[in-house]
Point group: C2
Chain length 441, copies 2
């Protein structure tokens, strides 16, 4: 076990999804799903590597790649055994350089880069242990798990002692839930039917396909035009029926009063939640919206940048669904902090996975959340977006509308070598062709 991390290689990988409008919404009309992709190289004889990524939607991905470079000196040369022995200390060191902290702190580009590196370290640890991430976590004791969490700035809501209690409470029954997950998987919902750029006919077709695949929860994008939203909501309700669940996602386009007014109109279609109704920074705004539109629940989290924001979303009762994102937060460690706070405040966790690689990593954390933390499936569904999975070595497996637990070692975010090569920006073949096509008449 004297294996060392010998290099941190960061690559700018972008998929030209804006051509198909997959991923389009009211705030993000033309996203190119992208990853700032990290490989932690080691000197192990088996060429053990840790792969991790953070997610962006195109321009600016190069800044995350550069930020990974800025964090490189804090990783290269470390002994794998030291990193895995205390992942909490590793996280503190990665996030603790005071000069780099200034340009966050714990937010924006530097925190996205932190996520990629931290997740790569977990991937490395899981691969070294020969386990998928979820199983690695499930096999850790409550004490080991709590040591991975930074409680800085959240002790007024949750301290290590209370976190231990939460984990100990469900520890004796972990085995039964693990068996249940292996047999039946974790419930998923689909976002793929409702992208904003799709035609009505395509929405109908995708709803039918979703029903045939076993989905019972469907999400649609709203917020660009209220009349369109109403027409599309009507259409989705016709397709999925009254008893299945319809969720709406405004991607931050509304001010607080607008959000309330819009949802009062859209309430006719019985939405289960409204996601990102306003600025992700507006904790009080989300709380005001939640009070005004109940029983419709407010959901947010994909842009909630750290555990301090989630703490306040919980403290104010602003969210009824916690959409934690392990590539927006500083990786697995910070997700653990949020899962534990969610359990304390009784808020179900329905992670955000609308991005390349996010379903792959977040399935591990939803499995862990159910088996070791929440011990409940009530109101828990994990988002599924149905594109770009073919680029992964170990893609997600959906059966009858449920995520089946991955079996391969690691975090499941390892991209195929040929995809890395083809989609590297700006000189991969996909981008060279894109430019050639754009200069044709």
């Amino acid at each position: 076990m004297s294996v060392r991390i010998t290099d941190v290689v960061a690559r700018d990988i972008r998929f030209p999804t804006s051509r198909s409008l997959a991923g389009s919404d009211a705030m993000n009309p033309e996203p190119d799903y992208s990853a700032a992709y990290v490989v932690l190289e080691t000197d192990s004889p088996e060429r053990l590597e840790g792969h991790g990524l953070t997610f962006t939607i195109g321009r600016g991905n190069e800044l995350c790649v550069a930020a990974i470079g800025a964090l490189r000196p804090f990783v290269v040369g470390r002994r794998l055994a030291d990193v895995t022995a205390d992942m909490g200390a590793f996280w503190d060191e990665i996030t603790g350089d005071s000069q780099l902290r200034w340009i966050g702190p714990e937010k924006g580009v530097i925190h996205l880069a932190t996520a990629a590196i931290v997740n790569a370290a977990w991937d490395l640890r899981a691969k070294a242990a020969g386990k998928p991430l979820w199983k690695l976590l499930v096999d850790m004791t409550p004490e080991e798990l709590v040591r991975c969490v930074s409680f800085r700035y959240i002790t007024d809501a949750l301290g290590p002692e209370e976190a231990l209690e939460i984990l100990r409470r469900s520890a004796p029954t972990r085995g039964a839930r693990e068996r249940e997950m292996r047999a039946h998987g974790f419930p998923a919902y689909t976002t793929s039917a409702g992208w904003l750029g799709y035609s009505d006919a395509k929405l109908r077709r995708l709803c039918r396909e979703g029903l045939a695949r076993g989905f019972s929860h469907f999400k649609m994008k709203v917020g660009a035009n209220l009349d369109d939203d109403i027409r599309r909501a009507q259409l989705l309700r016709e397709e999925i029926g009254a008893h299945r669940r319809l969720m709406m996602d405004a991607n931050q386009v509304w001010d607080v009063d607008q959000a309330i007014a819009s949802m009062q109109r859209l309430a006719a279609f019985d939405p289960w939640w409204i996601e990102e109704p306003t600025s992700p920074d507006d904790i009080l705004g989300h709380a005001a919206i939640a009070r005004a539109i109940a029983p419709i629940g407010v959901a947010t989290g994909e842009h909630a940048h750290n555990r301090v924001m989630f703490k306040q979303l919980f403290q104010t009762g602003a969210i009824r669904f916690c959409q934690v994102d392990g590539a927006r937060l500083g990786g697995v460690n910070e997700v653990l902090a949020v899962l534990l706070m969610a359990a304390k405040f009784g808020v179900p966790v329905c992670p955000h996975t609308g991005g390349v690689g996010l379903p792959e990593i977040m399935q591990h954390l939803s499995l862990f959340d159910y088996i070791c933390v929440s011990a409940s499936l009530e109101d828990r569904v994990l988002e599924h977006v149905d594109h770009l999975h073919e680029h992964f070595v170990d893609p997600v497996v959906i059966e009858a509308g449920r995520y089946m637990p991955p079996g391969a070692a690691g975090c499941s975010v390892t991209l195929r070598p040929e995809s890395l090569e083809r989609f590297e920006f700006p000189f991969g073949e996909a981008w060279v062709r894109q430019r050639q096509a754009s200069v044709m008449p």
Copy 2:
């Protein structure tokens, strides 16, 4: 007036301040005061240029420089007349690219870069008009000023109509306050006596110098060690006397309960405010601290990253002093939004200037705030840090503890060409020498 912006040149400028411990505090023990520095070049016959900067403390400055590069396409080629005719539209476009927005939104590296570019555009406009920034703003009508502000996400607290009312209320008496400022200047306080890395003897000497220079408000750093804080507070009180004001700054090192406990001990020294007692993202935490330690006021803002955060700090009554920072926010436009909200909520604005170039630009905004918005000096003091001014073409002028209004056209952040050359990282002479010195025995 067919002048166009022909290029955006960004430079990585760093001053090796960590050698002297000027700027040291409990969170940032060794800052190298740095600027991601922007020059907007034009094709005007007079070689008109707009200079702007954002502030960092060393590592990571290169990421801000790169982010300025990412924003370059949204600036190059624009007609100066179009930019100056509608600075609000310019701000919306700089912050509105959906792909780049994803890596914030409106926070972290991309928002720091936004500040540098937006401030450079204001510098360009002010230089073109032949006026210092404060005077340019003072000569704008309420309607023109309101058009510069993005009200997105703050309309539940302040809309354009109410903002207009605030500006119109003080418009008729602008002239008297402008004359007052020209004659007497804006009151300052000094941070330079209390850096954490300084010895007790140096603290005493700097207090005496500060008194001799006319300062009546002194700030000290706290938070590394409570016993040291008590000893140093005792020392400062001895030097400045009971009737002058002592402020404390914890630079985010405490959790909420720790902050309350620490300030209950430090209350014996009658601090006027405690600055950054905890995470800058913790609005509810600041509010809880404020309730617990009154009448000591809570101050924060240098890391409050956008107008949405300030809105909530105001809505919760979390801060009694608003420490807005025009290089952390997205430049002058977003500062205007915060000044207007502060006026509505009755919170005095005491800008953060603890960084290179920040005193230079923030003096303009404090002058504008007094003349056109708040119309009051009660509890208003502008921070002064006494180093690195020699590098500016038009450095701040302090007389009898007050900032005297600058007379030169622009925002006052233009660095001397020789300083730019000497401190450019990593190949300027200062850094080459630094590396040579560090390899000597």
